[in-house]
């Protein structure tokens, strides 16, 4: 007899898996896909309630490799946020889990990224950030650090766009950075992001094993492992099982209550980072950048920002669920409209 491991919805993990990946063996993106599968399963999100969104690029292919029981949309380059916005407007009950790359988010789609944050769109926005354009064979992207060098070609001379700093400046309600190789931290962050209501941006450094995993690349496995400035240790405690095994830290720790009642426990690791303070978060980012290091953890969190649909005073029922009577005003009302123009 086999004992099946089931989540709170009594679903097996296989209900959350997807197709076989076609990415390069060892790609950081596949590790992130696995964490998304694990997180959605552990959080007990009904697969049919999830909408997977992506743009174009290596990262944006991955929705084919996770959550096969969920609808998804692999849209156009850099424009995933607008498609997500439209879908969210008519069905605010969907849980949007989006993956995007650094080409998508920091270049062609930077405008849509900015405005989705500005509206506080209710979605998890994971950036699989490797600093290169993989599908077109390894050109630098706009997030690569000055001084970083990919496997072939010259050293990058341009200053990077830091997507977390940008998100914080825009008032994003949940901003984190992680590393595809830090499974525990990444899982806690993605699970917390799934429990958050509003825009949760997670910038995940995800090495490109083919074009930029050499030691001179600031986004190679070795470099990130050696230069990871971890802000804190994170533990996610789901609302349905507050007694789930959690190591209680000995030192100082704090807790964040998330929208769905779950908790993110934060154990401070030597730094005095305050995730409620944008200046503290930006300082941590700039310090790390100066030291040619990567700061990871929950950088900024503000649960008070109203979401895009909150501020529109929409019908309680998601608009896709409205009857024809609710969508088409009565014949009498049109008579009234005509009469008003007549006088």
């Amino acid at each position: 007899m086999t004992v099946l491991k089931l989540n709170v919805l009594e679903l097996e993990k296989s209900e959350y898996t997807g197709g076989k990946s076609s990415l390069c063996p060892g790609c950081g993106h596949d590790q992130i896909s696995n964490v998304i599968i694990q997180s959605a399963w552990e959080n007990g999100i009904p697969p049919e309630g999830i909408a997977k969104m992506s743009g174009i690029g290596c990262s944006s292919k991955t929705p084919a490799y996770f959550l096969g029981k969920s609808h998804g949309f692999n849209t156009v380059h850099g424009r995933m946020p607008s498609v997500t916005t439209g879908a969210n407007m008519v069905n605010k009950d969907l849980s949007f889990i989006a993956v995007s790359g650094d080409g998508d988010t920091a270049s062609i789609g930077i405008g849509q990224f900015v405005h989705a944050i500005r509206r506080n769109l209710d979605m998890v926005y994971i950036i699989e950030n490797n600093g290169v354009y993989g599908l077109t064979k390894g050109q630098y992207s706009a997030t690569v650090e000055k001084g970083s060098k990919k496997k072939k070609g010259s050293t990058n001379q341009q200053a990077p766009i830091d997507l977390c700093a940008m998100a914080i400046n825009l008032g994003c309600s949940f901003v984190a950075r992680s590393f595809s190789g830090s499974k525990k931290q990444l899982t806690a962050l993605i699970r917390a992001a799934m429990s958050h209501r509003g825009m949760a941006v997670i910038d995940v450094i995800s090495p490109c094993v083919t074009f930029a995993n050499n030691d001179e690349s600031y986004r190679s496995y070795n470099y990130v492992k050696d230069n990871d400035e971890v802000l804190h240790i994170l533990d996610y405690i789901p609302h349905f099982s507050p007694l789930e095994e959690v190591e209680v830290p000995e030192g100082e720790f704090g807790e964040i209550s998330l929208f769905d009642g779950s908790t993110l426990r934060i154990e401070t690791v030597g730094s005095d980072h305050d995730h409620t303070d944008a200046v503290s978060a930006l300082t941590a980012i700039h310090k790390a950048e100066k030291g040619e290091r990567h700061v990871t953890g929950l950088l900024y969190y503000d649960p008070e920002v109203p979401t895009a649909t909150d501020s529109l005073n929409l019908s309680e029922t998601p608009l896709v669920g409205l009857s024809e009577e609710m969508m088409r005003p009565s014949e009498d009302s049109l008579k009234g409209v005509n009469d008003r123009f007549r006088t």
Binding site: N74, M89, V90, Q112, V320, N338
Partner: protein, 605 residues
């Protein structure tokens, strides 16, 4: 100076057949005055039309408003001006210089510029000075009401009609109504006392159908969308479509609120047109009715998304209120220059459904029908209007309530429905009409990852040559299937099938006059107004029945002609001749009539 010329007396009265041109500066409130003249004449049952020729500017640049009264129902700007109102010093000399002899010139004396036309009738009034007496601080705006009074006197517009038009223009603002009526009355009285002149032209009351009213095309489209169940409006401001979006926004609280006051239509002002199109696709993908409105530059930007909608088969509605291109072009002028762009927007082989209203009633009708077509055919549907139709006021006898329930298309909503379909695949044509079934996110029914990349009948990524070929062939079958389901052309046929004129859109408002001008030369033409793309089969039959066909349109290249050439059988092509002309102005009948005659002469020669 006005009094010397003003002694001329007019011969014989001409009722309800004249053109007034009002030259003012943008942002001086003259639009209110012009609309009061328009509406007061409409109140008296006189067929009247107004064209606002405005600049791309907030304040200060010249603007003209052309009002035409015509018992024959002509709505195009006439060939010449009968009464010219000059208020704007910047265009003063030019406005006066181009007038034909005998034109009546009503001018503001306080501008202190000459009317050096011995052959015209110059009637001056100290409008600014008089306006200061009524409302010192508002004199710049109020002085425009004096020419309303002047015209009311000259044309014998009834006081009751004027008062009603003022009340309707300043709805509920009692003080404004009172002041403006006072100014108009003073203007009328001044003209009566000081001008020793009787105008040849006058307004004569006709029986007014109490059901009729005037409305802008954009507002008609907006109401259509409201009654079409629009769930999401995304938009980026652009002339001349902004008033369409703003009108929807204006009507939502009253017409689209649920019992608890919650809105049943989300509105997002997008960061650009690309995002607006993406939101429409997101809404359609999720099962809602999404729409955006824009003009040519916006369509150019949206093109990539339009291709996604076509290939991934996601419903959506985009209204293009055409302005003059290419590029930024003439943002406040009208054209039918986007037709080809809409029909084939985006790279690769694409073809889209385009609804082409010619009247405000059709703006309303296609406003709601566009959503039905979009969901039926699971694709982007365009509404094609233009600045002339969209931003000017046209007559309706009242909009008709939708005569069919909403068509939500082939959406599988339950497991039972799913089970009843044999061999379901998101992109599998199980009925032979080219339209596959779809399921919605959140339903848990056979989910797929939608994509703009190649996909097989189950929605799985594929680069297989046969799979791609078959998918594209099916899409063609699907869109071709729309031809006979879209609004058929409106055909008016002469017994003698010598010449047929094919036209579309806002040219509807000029065609009667064109037809009459041609008739004067002994030429009787049949007409066929195209109301949708892809072309309805009846259009080909119309061409077939006539010896010669003129394809008449407001652009340079003959875009509809190009579409027809490609789509009708080769043997019909020699029968067709293009008459295409565009200068940004609303079409003037004589210009197009003469061009038709020229082309026919060339053909016969």
């Amino acid at each position: 100076m006005g009094s010397a010329l003003g002694k001329k007396r007019a011969m014989g009265r001409i009722a309800n057949d004249f053109v007034i041109n009002v030259a003012t500066a943008n942002g001086t409130g003259s639009q209110s005055s012009n609309l009061i003249i328009l509406h007061s004449m409409f109140e008296m049952g006189v067929p009247v039309s107004g064209k606002n020729l405005f600049p791309s500017n907030i304040s200060g640049l010249p603007t003209w408003f052309i009002i035409r009264a015509s018992d024959r129902g002509y709505q195009a700007p006439g060939d010449s001006t009968n009464i010219q109102v000059v208020m704007n010093k910047d265009t003063w000399a030019e406005d006066i210089e181009k007038l034909e002899p005998g034109t009546v010139v009503v001018f503001n004396e306080d501008v202190r510029l000459p009317v050096d036309r011995e052959d015209c009738v110059a009637l001056g009034m100290p409008m600014t000075k008089m306006a200061r007496g009524v409302a010192p601080k508002l004199a710049r705006l109020m002085c425009n009401m004096y020419y309303v009074g002047a015209l009311a006197h000259l044309l014998e517009i009834e006081e009751g009609a004027i008062n009603k038009a003022v009340a309707s223009q300043f709805k509920g603002k009692e003080k404004a109504i009172e002041l403006n009526i006072q100014a108009i009355s003073e203007g009328r009285a001044y003209a009566k006392e000081n001008w020793d002149f009787e105008s040849q032209f006058c307004v004569e009351a006709r029986e007014k159908d109490p059901a009729t009213y005037l409305i802008e095309g954009n507002e008609a489209t907006a109401l259509g969308a409201i009654y079409g169940g629009i769930n999401m409006l995304s938009w980026y401001p652009i002339t001349p479509s902004s008033s369409l979006a703003e009108s929807i926004i204006g009507w939502i609280p009253e017409l689209r609120s649920d019992d608890s006051g919650g809105s049943t239509c989300a509105v997002i002002q997008a960061e650009d047109e690309l995002a607006a199109a993406g939101m429409v696709i997101g809404a359609g993908w999720a099962g809602g009715r999404g729409m955006t409105c824009t003009s040519g530059p916006g369509i150019s930007l949206m093109s990539e998304f339009i291709g996604l909608s076509y290939f991934a088969e996601v419903p959506g509605v985009i209204w293009d209120v055409n302005r003059v291109g290419p590029s930024t072009g003439l943002p406040t002028r009208t054209q039918q220059g986007d037709l080809t762009l809409l029909y084939e927007a985006s790279h690769g082989d694409t073809q889209h459904i385009v609804l082409i209203p010619g009247t405000v009633d059709e703006c309303f009708e296609y406003g709601w029908k566009a959503f039905d077509y979009a969901e039926r055919f699971q694709t982007m549907v365009f509404g094609f209007s233009d600045l002339d139709l969209g931003m000017n006021r046209w007559e309706t006898a009242g909009f008709q309530y939708p005569d069919s329930p909403m068509d939500r298309g082939k959406v599988i909503r339950t497991q039972e429905e799913m089970d009843s379909i044999e061999n379901y695949g998101r992109y599998r044509d199980v009925d032979g009409d080219g339209i596959p079934y779809r399921t919605l996110p959140g339903s848990g029914l056979d989910p797929i990852l939608y994509r703009g990349t190649g996909h097989d009948e189950d929605g799985v990524y594929s680069e297989n040559p046969q799979v791609y070929h078959d998918a594209m062939a099916r899409l063609r079958v699907k869109i071709d299937g729309a031809r006979s389901q879209l609004p058929p052309p409106v055909i008016r046929e002469e017994e003698d099938k010598e010449v047929g004129v094919i036209f579309y859109g806002s040219m509807e408002n000029t065609i009667v006059e064109i037809d009459d001008i041609l008739e004067e030369t002994g030429l009787s033409v049949s007409t066929c107004r195209v109301r949708a793309l892809p072309l309805h089969p009846e259009i080909e039959e119309f061409i077939n029945r006539h010896e010669k066909t003129i394809v008449l349109e407001i652009n340079r290249d003959g875009q509809m002609y190009g579409i027809l050439r490609r789509e009708v059988p080769a043997e019909l092509v020699p029968k067709m001749h293009s008459v295409a002309y565009s200068d940004g102005m609303p079409p003037r009948a004589r210009v197009y009539a003469e061009k038709i005659l020229e082309v026919l002469n060339e053909v016969d020669a």
